[in-house]
Symmetry: C2
Subunit: 209 residues, 2 copies
């Protein structure tokens, strides 16, 4: 997805392009909206089907349970976030350039897809015990991606970071919380928030941009 | 510390000492737990009463509706947060000392009362239109408190902040998100997270501690 598409997006436009067929994708979009508005536990499969203009029976063709929907939303959301961070880790450039780009793109994602991000972040405890380890593993990898860039910068002398694990958590947390407060009708675009946050994070690791 | 230990929060020790009589306070604690676990919309007044070991009829003596409970939790939570920030604004000391103390105490509160803080932050949209303006006014005052300290520091030459409103949002956001990831059984105490975050925020505003 290009930056332009994300800026233009007034609401949560996560395309879910990997979800097929079309009916399964429409149900997933409906589930994100319902979970974000009313919470997972207050949403029924009937609510989701009716938002998607379908019958409950049609939903069961694609998803056995409401939890299967939450699990797929959570997995796709976490995989997208991880992909964004990995791309930044593996890019060319100094640690400062890669960290700035990781923050810019991670923030843009959380601002542009704030509804999906909220469901992914706030309904984690609603996943059953058997599904949580897979998601926790994805989160550990996101954490490791940011930690690696910070460690690279400490090693090269670009950064001055007394507490790498704690600073890693703070950087991710700052970006993730954009999903809570970002308002598509507010004064700043996702790109502007991303640029500000990249600057703030470079300060947090002891580099002035 | 990793971001993934979002397992159900053990307990929240918000004393709600201003809530009397005892039955009203027990109901409020039960409501915080239920809202945090299942979400506002999935919680019934019957659930809350039974968690508090009371009958639904006994609940109605103290609270007319479920929304009244949410409103009182939200108002008390926001007032506590504002009181913490105001105390830091009005304290003696340099802007850096006051900002560090504001962050330390705000983080301690969000870590120590993460269940309450989650309800306060994530169920804001569940409040009716007529109640939201009062809460929004309290949030604006919290924002103004942090902005004032940052402006003081810019004026005195202690801080170098190109974007004061954006940095204010980021500082508050960083602290608030502690309520999402903080785990009382994790490796760091609320005090330790507060100390780390105070250091990171001083870096964000261009002062090295």
């Amino acid at each position: 997805m290009t930056q332009d598409e994300q800026v233009a997006a007034p609401t949560d436009d996560m395309p879910w392009s990997e979800v097929t067929p079309d009916a399964a994708r429409r149900l997933m979009v409906a589930a994100v909206e319902a979970f974000a508005e009313r919470g997972y536990h207050a949403t029924t499969t009937r609510d989701i089907a009716s938002r998607a203009g379908m019958s409950p029976a049609a939903l069961y063709i694609h998803y056995k349970t409401k939890e299967e929907l939450l699990l797929r939303i959570s997995r796709i959301g976490h995989e997208k976030a991880l992909e964004i961070l990995r791309r930044a880790v593996e890019a060319e450039g100094t640690a400062a350039e890669r960290l700035a780009e990781a923050v810019r793109s991670f923030v843009r994602w959380h601002a542009g897809h704030h509804m999906t991000a909220r469901v992914v972040q706030y309904e984690l405890d609603s996943l059953g015990e058997e599904h949580r380890p897979g998601i926790v593993a994805l989160r550990r990898q996101s954490d490791a991606a940011i930690r690696k860039i910070i460690n690279d910068g400490v090693r090269s002398g670009e950064f001055d970071v007394p507490d790498v694990p704690g600073t890693t958590v703070a950087v991710l947390s700052l970006c993730i919380d954009v999903a809570r407060w970002f308002n598509a009708e507010g004064r700043r675009t996702p790109d502007e928030v991303g640029a500000l946050y990249a600057d703030l994070v470079l300060r947090m690791v002891g580099t002035r941009s």
